[in-house]
Symmetry: C2
Subunit: 159 residues, 2 copies
Protein backbone atom coordinates (compact mmCIF):
# COMPACT_ATOMS: atom_id res chain seq x y z
CA UNK A 1 0.00 0.00 0.00
CA UNK A 2 1.07 3.62 -0.26
CA UNK A 3 2.11 5.55 -3.32
CA UNK A 4 3.70 3.24 -5.88
CA UNK A 5 7.29 3.76 -6.97
CA UNK A 6 7.43 5.49 -10.34
CA UNK A 7 10.60 3.85 -11.58
CA UNK A 8 11.88 0.31 -12.01
CA UNK A 9 14.44 -0.76 -9.42
CA UNK A 10 16.41 -3.03 -11.72
CA UNK A 11 16.48 -0.56 -14.55
CA UNK A 12 17.67 2.14 -12.14
CA UNK A 13 20.38 -0.23 -10.92
CA UNK A 14 21.52 -0.82 -14.49
CA UNK A 15 21.85 2.92 -15.03
CA UNK A 16 23.74 3.26 -11.77
CA UNK A 17 25.97 0.35 -12.76
CA UNK A 18 26.94 2.15 -15.92
CA UNK A 19 27.88 5.29 -14.01
CA UNK A 20 29.87 3.47 -11.32
CA UNK A 21 31.58 1.32 -13.94
CA UNK A 22 32.62 4.39 -15.88
CA UNK A 23 33.70 6.63 -13.02
CA UNK A 24 34.41 4.39 -10.05
CA UNK A 25 32.86 4.67 -6.63
CA UNK A 26 34.08 8.12 -5.66
CA UNK A 27 34.03 9.48 -9.18
CA UNK A 28 30.29 8.81 -9.43
CA UNK A 29 28.47 11.67 -7.74
CA UNK A 30 24.90 11.60 -6.49
CA UNK A 31 23.71 14.20 -9.03
CA UNK A 32 25.41 12.14 -11.74
CA UNK A 33 23.68 8.99 -10.53
CA UNK A 34 20.22 10.49 -10.05
CA UNK A 35 20.38 12.06 -13.49
CA UNK A 36 21.33 8.78 -15.13
CA UNK A 37 18.73 6.90 -13.12
CA UNK A 38 16.06 9.44 -14.00
CA UNK A 39 15.01 9.92 -10.38
CA UNK A 40 15.38 12.53 -7.66
CA UNK A 41 17.76 12.39 -4.79
CA UNK A 42 15.29 11.42 -2.04
CA UNK A 43 13.96 8.60 -4.23
CA UNK A 44 17.44 7.21 -4.46
CA UNK A 45 17.91 7.34 -0.70
CA UNK A 46 14.45 5.92 -0.04
CA UNK A 47 15.09 3.00 -2.37
CA UNK A 48 18.74 2.22 -1.63
CA UNK A 49 19.64 3.86 1.68
CA UNK A 50 22.97 5.43 0.80
CA UNK A 51 25.54 5.73 -1.92
CA UNK A 52 27.47 2.87 -0.36
CA UNK A 53 24.47 0.56 -0.20
CA UNK A 54 23.51 1.51 -3.73
CA UNK A 55 27.00 0.50 -4.80
CA UNK A 56 26.65 -2.85 -3.04
CA UNK A 57 23.40 -3.46 -4.90
CA UNK A 58 25.16 -2.50 -8.12
CA UNK A 59 27.96 -4.95 -7.39
CA UNK A 60 25.42 -7.68 -6.86
CA UNK A 61 23.77 -6.89 -10.16
CA UNK A 62 27.15 -6.74 -11.87
CA UNK A 63 28.03 -10.21 -10.65
CA UNK A 64 24.67 -11.58 -11.66
CA UNK A 65 24.82 -9.89 -15.06
CA UNK A 66 27.93 -8.85 -16.96
CA UNK A 67 30.25 -11.26 -15.15
CA UNK A 68 27.85 -14.10 -14.54
CA UNK A 69 30.02 -16.22 -16.82
CA UNK A 70 32.62 -16.47 -14.06
CA UNK A 71 30.42 -18.53 -11.79
CA UNK A 72 29.19 -20.56 -14.76
CA UNK A 73 32.69 -21.29 -15.98
CA UNK A 74 33.60 -23.02 -12.73
CA UNK A 75 30.96 -25.67 -13.42
CA UNK A 76 32.69 -26.88 -16.59
CA UNK A 77 33.84 -30.51 -16.40
CA UNK A 78 37.59 -30.00 -17.01
CA UNK A 79 40.16 -27.47 -15.84
CA UNK A 80 40.84 -26.61 -19.46
CA UNK A 81 37.17 -25.97 -20.18
CA UNK A 82 36.92 -23.85 -17.03
CA UNK A 83 39.89 -21.77 -18.11
CA UNK A 84 38.76 -21.43 -21.69
CA UNK A 85 35.34 -20.24 -20.64
CA UNK A 86 36.80 -17.77 -18.16
CA UNK A 87 39.14 -16.34 -20.77
CA UNK A 88 36.39 -16.18 -23.37
CA UNK A 89 34.22 -14.34 -20.84
CA UNK A 90 36.99 -11.89 -20.01
CA UNK A 91 37.66 -11.17 -23.65
CA UNK A 92 34.05 -10.75 -24.65
CA UNK A 93 33.29 -8.55 -21.67
CA UNK A 94 36.39 -6.41 -21.92
CA UNK A 95 36.21 -5.84 -25.66
CA UNK A 96 32.44 -5.32 -25.93
CA UNK A 97 31.98 -1.72 -26.99
CA UNK A 98 28.66 -1.54 -25.19
CA UNK A 99 30.42 -1.93 -21.86
CA UNK A 100 32.45 0.73 -20.11
CA UNK A 101 36.13 -0.14 -20.05
CA UNK A 102 37.74 -2.49 -17.60
CA UNK A 103 36.26 -4.35 -14.67
CA UNK A 104 34.16 -2.64 -12.04
CA UNK A 105 35.52 -4.95 -9.36
CA UNK A 106 39.07 -3.96 -10.22
CA UNK A 107 38.98 -0.23 -10.69
CA UNK A 108 35.79 0.59 -8.81
CA UNK A 109 37.89 1.79 -5.89
CA UNK A 110 41.50 1.26 -6.87
CA UNK A 111 43.19 4.52 -5.98
CA UNK A 112 40.92 6.70 -3.94
CA UNK A 113 40.50 8.57 -0.70
CA UNK A 114 39.47 7.45 2.76
CA UNK A 115 35.81 7.79 1.86
CA UNK A 116 35.86 4.55 -0.07
CA UNK A 117 38.20 2.55 2.16
CA UNK A 118 35.54 0.03 3.12
CA UNK A 119 34.38 -0.33 -0.47
CA UNK A 120 37.97 -0.89 -1.54
CA UNK A 121 38.37 -3.67 1.00
CA UNK A 122 35.11 -5.25 -0.04
CA UNK A 123 36.08 -5.29 -3.70
CA UNK A 124 39.45 -6.80 -2.81
CA UNK A 125 37.61 -9.48 -0.85
CA UNK A 126 35.38 -10.27 -3.81
CA UNK A 127 38.38 -10.57 -6.12
CA UNK A 128 40.11 -12.81 -3.59
CA UNK A 129 36.97 -14.88 -3.35
CA UNK A 130 37.00 -15.43 -7.09
CA UNK A 131 40.64 -16.50 -7.08
CA UNK A 132 39.87 -18.89 -4.24
CA UNK A 133 36.96 -20.38 -6.16
CA UNK A 134 39.20 -21.00 -9.15
CA UNK A 135 41.87 -22.43 -6.87
CA UNK A 136 39.42 -24.86 -5.31
CA UNK A 137 38.22 -25.86 -8.76
CA UNK A 138 41.79 -26.55 -9.88
CA UNK A 139 42.50 -28.41 -6.67
CA UNK A 140 39.57 -30.66 -7.47
CA UNK A 141 40.93 -31.08 -10.99
CA UNK A 142 44.23 -32.31 -9.57
CA UNK A 143 42.34 -34.74 -7.38
CA UNK A 144 40.40 -35.92 -10.44
CA UNK A 145 43.58 -36.49 -12.40
CA UNK A 146 42.44 -33.76 -14.76
CA UNK A 147 45.54 -31.72 -13.94
CA UNK A 148 48.96 -33.33 -13.30
CA UNK A 149 49.75 -34.37 -9.74
CA UNK A 150 51.92 -31.78 -8.03
CA UNK A 151 50.37 -28.87 -9.92
CA UNK A 152 50.59 -25.66 -7.93
CA UNK A 153 46.88 -25.00 -8.30
CA UNK A 154 46.98 -21.92 -6.06
CA UNK A 155 49.61 -20.18 -8.17
CA UNK A 156 47.84 -21.26 -11.35
CA UNK A 157 44.56 -19.82 -10.16
CA UNK A 158 46.13 -16.53 -9.14
CA UNK A 159 47.92 -16.29 -12.46
Amino acid sequence: MGRPREFDLDEALDRALDVFWRHGYEGATIPHLTKAMGINRPSLYAAFGSKEQLFRNVIHRYRAGPVAYAAEALKEPTARAVTERLFAGFMCGLTNRKNPRGCLLVHGALASGDESASIRQELAAIREELVNAIRDRFKQAVKDGDLPTGTDYAALARY
Copy 2:
Protein backbone atom coordinates in the same frame (compact mmCIF):
# COMPACT_ATOMS: atom_id res chain seq x y z
CA MET B 1 66.61 37.70 -2.52
CA GLY B 2 63.61 37.51 -0.23
CA ARG B 3 62.89 35.05 2.50
CA PRO B 4 64.40 31.65 1.72
CA ARG B 5 62.14 28.62 1.33
CA GLU B 6 62.17 26.50 4.48
CA PHE B 7 61.68 23.16 2.76
CA ASP B 8 63.39 21.23 -0.01
CA LEU B 9 61.45 21.18 -3.29
CA ASP B 10 62.59 17.73 -4.34
CA GLU B 11 61.97 16.19 -0.96
CA ALA B 12 58.49 17.73 -0.89
CA LEU B 13 57.86 16.30 -4.37
CA ASP B 14 58.90 12.86 -3.16
CA ARG B 15 56.41 13.07 -0.31
CA ALA B 16 53.71 14.24 -2.69
CA LEU B 17 54.61 11.42 -5.08
CA ASP B 18 54.01 8.91 -2.34
CA VAL B 19 50.57 10.35 -1.57
CA PHE B 20 49.48 10.56 -5.21
CA TRP B 21 50.84 7.08 -5.90
CA ARG B 22 48.87 5.67 -3.01
CA HIS B 23 45.59 7.51 -3.48
CA GLY B 24 45.49 8.67 -7.08
CA TYR B 25 44.98 12.22 -8.25
CA GLU B 26 41.52 12.85 -6.84
CA GLY B 27 42.01 10.66 -3.79
CA ALA B 28 44.93 12.80 -2.66
CA THR B 29 43.54 15.86 -0.89
CA ILE B 30 45.40 19.09 -0.28
CA PRO B 31 45.43 18.62 3.52
CA HIS B 32 46.75 15.09 2.94
CA LEU B 33 49.48 16.42 0.70
CA THR B 34 50.51 19.36 2.87
CA LYS B 35 50.69 17.12 5.91
CA ALA B 36 52.89 14.60 4.13
CA MET B 37 55.05 17.36 2.65
CA GLY B 38 55.41 19.06 6.03
CA ILE B 39 54.36 22.45 4.68
CA ASN B 40 51.33 24.71 4.85
CA ARG B 41 48.79 25.18 2.15
CA PRO B 42 49.98 28.58 0.84
CA SER B 43 53.54 27.28 0.62
CA LEU B 44 52.31 24.50 -1.63
CA TYR B 45 50.49 26.94 -3.89
CA ALA B 46 53.38 29.39 -3.92
CA ALA B 47 55.81 26.65 -4.91
CA PHE B 48 53.69 24.60 -7.33
CA GLY B 49 50.76 26.74 -8.42
CA SER B 50 47.92 24.26 -8.12
CA LYS B 51 47.10 20.66 -7.36
CA GLU B 52 47.19 19.89 -11.05
CA GLN B 53 50.57 21.48 -11.61
CA LEU B 54 51.92 19.79 -8.52
CA PHE B 55 50.79 16.50 -9.98
CA ARG B 56 52.56 17.25 -13.25
CA ASN B 57 55.75 17.93 -11.32
CA VAL B 58 55.25 14.68 -9.47
CA ILE B 59 54.80 12.80 -12.75
CA HIS B 60 58.05 14.27 -14.00
CA ARG B 61 59.84 13.17 -10.87
CA TYR B 62 58.24 9.74 -11.10
CA ARG B 63 59.52 9.26 -14.63
CA ALA B 64 62.98 10.48 -13.68
CA GLY B 65 63.06 8.31 -10.57
CA PRO B 66 61.12 5.11 -9.95
CA VAL B 67 60.55 4.36 -13.63
CA ALA B 68 63.76 5.78 -15.05
CA TYR B 69 64.68 2.25 -16.08
CA ALA B 70 62.12 2.45 -18.90
CA ALA B 71 64.04 5.11 -20.80
CA GLU B 72 67.33 3.37 -20.02
CA ALA B 73 66.07 0.01 -21.23
CA LEU B 74 65.41 1.37 -24.71
CA LYS B 75 69.11 2.05 -25.11
CA GLU B 76 70.07 -1.62 -24.82
CA PRO B 77 71.71 -3.02 -27.95
CA THR B 78 69.23 -5.82 -28.74
CA ALA B 79 65.45 -6.15 -28.65
CA ARG B 80 65.84 -9.02 -26.22
CA ALA B 81 68.00 -6.96 -23.88
CA VAL B 82 65.51 -4.08 -24.10
CA THR B 83 62.65 -6.38 -23.19
CA GLU B 84 64.54 -8.12 -20.41
CA ARG B 85 65.48 -4.85 -18.82
CA LEU B 86 61.93 -3.51 -19.09
CA PHE B 87 60.51 -6.63 -17.48
CA ALA B 88 63.15 -6.62 -14.77
CA GLY B 89 62.29 -3.00 -14.06
CA PHE B 90 58.56 -3.71 -13.92
CA MET B 91 59.07 -6.61 -11.55
CA CYS B 92 61.47 -4.83 -9.23
CA GLY B 93 59.32 -1.74 -9.10
CA LEU B 94 56.02 -3.50 -8.65
CA THR B 95 57.21 -5.93 -5.99
CA ASN B 96 59.36 -3.53 -4.00
CA ARG B 97 57.67 -3.20 -0.63
CA LYS B 98 58.96 0.34 -0.24
CA ASN B 99 56.80 1.47 -3.15
CA PRO B 100 53.04 1.96 -3.08
CA ARG B 101 51.28 -0.63 -5.20
CA GLY B 102 50.87 -0.45 -8.93
CA CYS B 103 51.94 2.22 -11.36
CA LEU B 104 51.12 5.88 -10.85
CA LEU B 105 50.76 6.40 -14.58
CA VAL B 106 48.16 3.65 -14.77
CA HIS B 107 45.90 4.20 -11.80
CA GLY B 108 46.67 7.83 -11.06
CA ALA B 109 43.39 8.78 -12.70
CA LEU B 110 41.83 5.57 -13.92
CA ALA B 111 38.23 5.79 -12.75
CA SER B 112 37.42 9.23 -11.48
CA GLY B 113 35.19 12.23 -11.89
CA ASP B 114 35.26 15.14 -14.29
CA GLU B 115 37.71 17.01 -12.09
CA SER B 116 40.58 14.89 -13.33
CA ALA B 117 39.57 14.48 -16.95
CA SER B 118 42.57 16.41 -18.26
CA ILE B 119 44.94 14.53 -15.98
CA ARG B 120 43.45 11.27 -17.18
CA GLN B 121 44.07 12.21 -20.78
CA GLU B 122 47.59 13.28 -20.03
CA LEU B 123 48.43 10.01 -18.32
CA ALA B 124 46.96 8.08 -21.23
CA ALA B 125 49.15 10.13 -23.56
CA ILE B 126 52.24 9.32 -21.52
CA ARG B 127 51.45 5.62 -21.60
CA GLU B 128 50.87 5.80 -25.33
CA GLU B 129 54.15 7.62 -25.70
CA LEU B 130 55.97 4.80 -23.92
CA VAL B 131 54.36 2.16 -26.14
CA ASN B 132 55.37 4.20 -29.17
CA ALA B 133 58.95 4.43 -27.95
CA ILE B 134 59.12 0.67 -27.55
CA ARG B 135 57.48 0.23 -30.95
CA ASP B 136 60.09 2.44 -32.60
CA ARG B 137 62.86 0.55 -30.86
CA PHE B 138 61.48 -2.76 -32.11
CA LYS B 139 61.05 -1.33 -35.58
CA GLN B 140 64.72 -0.43 -35.54
CA ALA B 141 65.51 -3.95 -34.33
CA VAL B 142 63.72 -5.38 -37.35
CA LYS B 143 65.71 -3.08 -39.60
CA ASP B 144 68.90 -4.24 -37.89
CA GLY B 145 68.01 -7.87 -38.42
CA ASP B 146 67.84 -8.24 -34.66
CA LEU B 147 64.17 -9.27 -34.91
CA PRO B 148 62.86 -11.43 -37.77
CA THR B 149 61.67 -9.62 -40.90
CA GLY B 150 57.90 -9.26 -40.91
CA THR B 151 57.66 -9.00 -37.14
CA ASP B 152 54.55 -7.02 -36.09
CA TYR B 153 56.58 -4.67 -33.94
CA ALA B 154 53.60 -2.48 -33.10
CA ALA B 155 51.58 -5.36 -31.67
CA LEU B 156 54.66 -6.69 -29.91
CA ALA B 157 55.31 -3.34 -28.27
CA ARG B 158 51.71 -2.96 -27.12
CA TYR B 159 51.70 -6.45 -25.72
